[in-house]
Amino acid sequence: MDYIKLVSNKIDIQQVHNLIVDDGCGACSMFVGTTRDTFEGKKVISLEYEAYENMALKEMSKICSELRTRWPILKHIAIYHRLGTVPVREESVVIATSSPHRAAALESVSFAIDELKSRVPIWKKEIYEEDPVGEWKENKECQWPQHSKSTLKAFDFSCCPIDQTMTSDNKLVQIRVNDSDLNRRVDCFLKRKRDEINLYNINDFKKQSSNDDADLTEEISCARTQSFLVKQQQSKGHLKVRRANNNSGPQMRPNYSLQLNKLMASQQRDNNQTENISLPSVRLKNIETYMGISSDDNNILNRIKELENRILLLESSSPEYKYLVSNKH
């Protein structure tokens, strides 16, 4: 049987004892909480108790259920709490249990008073001799969640020491952010990985394959060009340079102005034949024009000498031209 009560008068301890005593029980255990006369050097005159009565009775009933779960052999349980003014030396709370054997009775009473102090909505105010207004007390068992930032910082880490022997997978990491930020990070990671993969999928050059054209077309590739990467020996550049020897095309277009000039010159030559200019003289004149020399000297040897000087000058300024010409022989 459970006896739960909030009382406004003095608790009759004998009466509580009578409630729980039983023929089949070898043990009755009782805790009596009484009013102390000092707190931190201040003289306490009395204690004022108040309760959220309906809820307090509910919570006390829950404690009884808990006791019976933990110690099924308990016979009777009584929890009495006094409200209102309680003078010094008088009882404020009485918890009593009976059981066939003493262990359950002793342990359950101890457990019950701890539970009562931590969850039953009852408050006490100490009235001091020097301070008639008094002060509301707080049970150290009362573990209300603190919801201010300052108290969060002041969390006492020593109350839950880290067990150093615990082994964890090295691959595991602890991330202390909320869900939305976690999801954002995962999305960013996925996006970056996708971009990386896309980047690798773009080939600037195809891998050099065999000469077989069939292989080339069958190859699956995202390459942007159809070129091949060829590294030459002792070359700083990565591209193989091939010299093109085209026999036709726009680069082989004849120089029409040159042709026209030749035709005009031959016409002039035809016209000048009447002036009895000898053929060697005309050819010499053409060479002089080609070399960019204009000479009025009539002595043919002087004109040839001037051409030789011109050739020597050109050879000295462009020696490779000389070797190119001499190699042909």
């Binding site: 509910k58 709370v93 509301w136």
Partner: protein, 92 residues
């Protein structure tokens, strides 16, 4: 009832105990609130309305005589429900 429906709020009973009763200068009050409200939000409204800022970081709430363990959760209120403001307890 019609006026309540228009404003979208319902009236609930607030109970005050110990220090919170002294700060609010009353042991019970009627309070208009949204039918579904986050517990932390309700606590903040009560602290602002009833001058409880001195103890705002160490009180919890009880809804119809049951502690609200998590201030992040939504509470579903009915007309005339009971919300108790519970400062740190000191029974025994």
């Amino acid at each position: 009832m019609n006026e309540e429906n228009k404003s979208g709020t319902i009236n609930i009973n607030i109970l005050f105990f110990a220090k919170s009763r002294e700060l609010a200068k009353t042991s019970r009050a009627v309070f208009a609130v949204e039918p579904v409200v986050q517990a932390g939000q309700l606590l903040k409204q009560l602290v602002d309305r009833f001058d409880l800022s001195a103890i705002s970081n160490c009180i919890i709430l009880a809804h119809n005589e049951n502690y609200i363990e998590n201030l992040d959760e939504d509470i579903h209120l009915q007309q005339a429900d009971e919300i108790a403001v519970i400062p740190p307890i000191s029974g025994g």
